[in-house]
Symmetry: C2
Subunit: 347 residues, 2 copies
């Protein structure tokens, strides 16, 4: 069942030609364009074998061959040549990335747009989440009669706030005291540390504000367990660049699918382990009906050991895997710097 060297070379040639031209590739063209030292007829025989083994498909009798899902899988796992971005490409990328970012959301939306531009494919990207967050600072202040603002600062630097109605009367002075006390109790703690006994201790010390404190504590916990995996979809219309989506119905099905936040999230949830590795999911490996004819190149990004998120590039199964993997790796390297800078200085 394992492929001989020659079959591998031929499969590689077919996959690469097909990725480049989007046309079924025939034996004659391979003989001509690749220096395999074989005649078209020989290649034809090998192709017939490869088809029988499931690595190639035939759209119809008199067309050339097309890689099957299995063919792509083998190519990606064993045959794909790493593509190294040229100096020029890297410089273009860097200059596109070099701009003023207002906050993390803007980094994500700008970066996903850039990726989709260079890959000519739709890109999905999550906002970075903070791993195992801890409270750095909790502060409450009255901003109106009966309306308090809770500000929670987490390590890694994200800041969240929430307005809370205060039912009883709490004075400005009181809220300062509560705020300082709560801060002394919570600073440095993670979600796990804020357990029943800790909460009881807080209630015990400031029983008269229990209702209010409960709201605050709930919010703090929410911030710590925060899994807002908000998803951005960049350049969805790029899917129309690919000839496999020139059929309007197919294009619509795909766009409808990816426009939906939940679906975009599902796509990004496809990473298993693999950690910082780039993962490639081909066709129905995704287990999503609507992605049957598309592939996804997924990568995790990290920054400062605290932030992490996911990027996915979606294209037809015929997408240029080598180039897209390379683009994602190049971006990932830059992203660490950008995110760290934005995260610590601004937001």
């Amino acid at each position: 069942m394992d492929l001989g060297k020659r079959k591998q070379l031929i499969l590689q040639a077919i996959v690469e030609d097909y990725i480049a031209t989007a046309e079924p590739v025939g034996s004659r063209n391979i003989a001509k364009n690749h220096d395999l030292g074989l005649s078209a007829a020989t290649i034809r025989n090998e192709m017939a074998d490869l088809e029988e083994m499931g690595y190639l498909d035939k759209p119809h009798t008199s067309a050339g061959r097309v890689p099957s899902q299995l063919g792509y899988r083998f190519y990606v796992d064993s045959l794909m040549r790493r593509y190294s971005a040229t100096v020029e490409e890297i410089e273009n990328l860097n200059s596109a990335l070099h701009q003023r970012y207002v906050n993390l959301s803007s980094v994500v939306s700008v970066v996903s747009d850039i990726i989709s531009k260079i890959t000519k494919c739709p890109t999905v990207m999550t906002l970075p989440t903070v791993a195992s967050a801890k409270v750095v600072n909790v502060k409450m202040l009255m901003i109106e009669e009966n309306l308090a603002l809770i500000v929670v600062v987490l390590d890694g630097g994200s800041v969240r706030n929430k307005k809370v109605k205060v039912s009883g009367k709490i004075t400005y002075r009181e809220i300062d005291a509560i705020s300082d006390f709560l801060n002394s109790q919570l600073a440095g703690l993670g979600a796990k540390d804020i357990d029943e006994s800790r909460i009881m201790l807080i209630y015990g010390a400031m029983g008269q504000y229990k209702d209010f404190l409960k709201v605050v504590l709930d919010f703090v916990l929410e911030c710590l367990q925060n899994n807002i995996t908000e998803v951005y979809v960049g350049g969805a219309s790029n899917i129309l660049n690919h000839p496999e989506f020139c059929d309007i119905d197919r294009a619509r099905d795909f766009l409808r699918f990816i426009d939906n936040r939940e679906n975009a999230t599902k796509v990004l949830a496809l990473t298993t382990g693999g950690d910082s590795d780039v993962k490639i999911i081909i066709g129905d490996e995704a287990g999503l009906e609507e992605m049957r004819d598309t592939s996804i190149v997924l990568a995790n990004y990290h920054a400062g050991g605290i932030l992490s998120g996911k990027i996915g590039v979606i294209g037809p199964t015929r997408m240029d895997y080598a180039r897209i993997v390379s683009s994602l790796e190049t971006i990932n390297a830059q992203l660490e710097t950008i995110l760290t800078a934005v995260f610590y200085n601004e937001e």
Copy 2:
């Protein structure tokens, strides 16, 4: 140059039939489907007149007529019958709108998705902005050695924050003092009120922190003049529902256009005065090359007298104006309640 009653009826019939069927409409069909008491031949004569006057176009000799941009304009201004949403429609809408919103962004993204679903058209929508904001509260706190957090609360309730590096040493106690002083100086003021003399006064009192104060003041002013008109685009793929976009190139051009944040902003910037009125922009009235064959129904939304924003529904010039105007009005009425609730209780 003004149209007689009969010509108006015929124009109306043509526009409505064309909106419903997307096919050029012929004299015979009008005679049959509309009870005008006229023969096809008479209608034909009137149609020839209407064409000469510029209200109708003819795709080719042997097709029916199609409304021209002028025709749509006249229809929208003078002939369009108000469509009243049915009780069922309103109930469906309300139940779709009835959900838990995390914050204003989520309202905007959910609502724009709902609108695009019921109108079957792409929808663009701005985040609400606060009119003539005033400072309610300014607070600074040290969250790390050399890192301060500025929190600005504006009336209407929006809260923004920014982290600032502090170069010199500022103690926790000092920052409290600066914070209280600045708050006493700025509370209740709008952008106009924070003028040169006010700033000088602040610097005068706290000269040793001038560098730091400058950063804070700049940020406060930025918040007050805040024009973050962030734009959401909902249901862009809906454009593919319309037969005029079954051509893949046209679809791509449009999607590429609207996927771009700047362009979406341009579209929403088309409102002139008109205030709470719904405004309809037809074809090249927008002055945007890419919108030559599309129309936009624009509406302003308001909440609590403080928040306001814009919604736009984009479709082919053949879009169902009456229905879309009605949908927008119905949504607008609900939006006031939702936004007010979300704004004052959460975020």
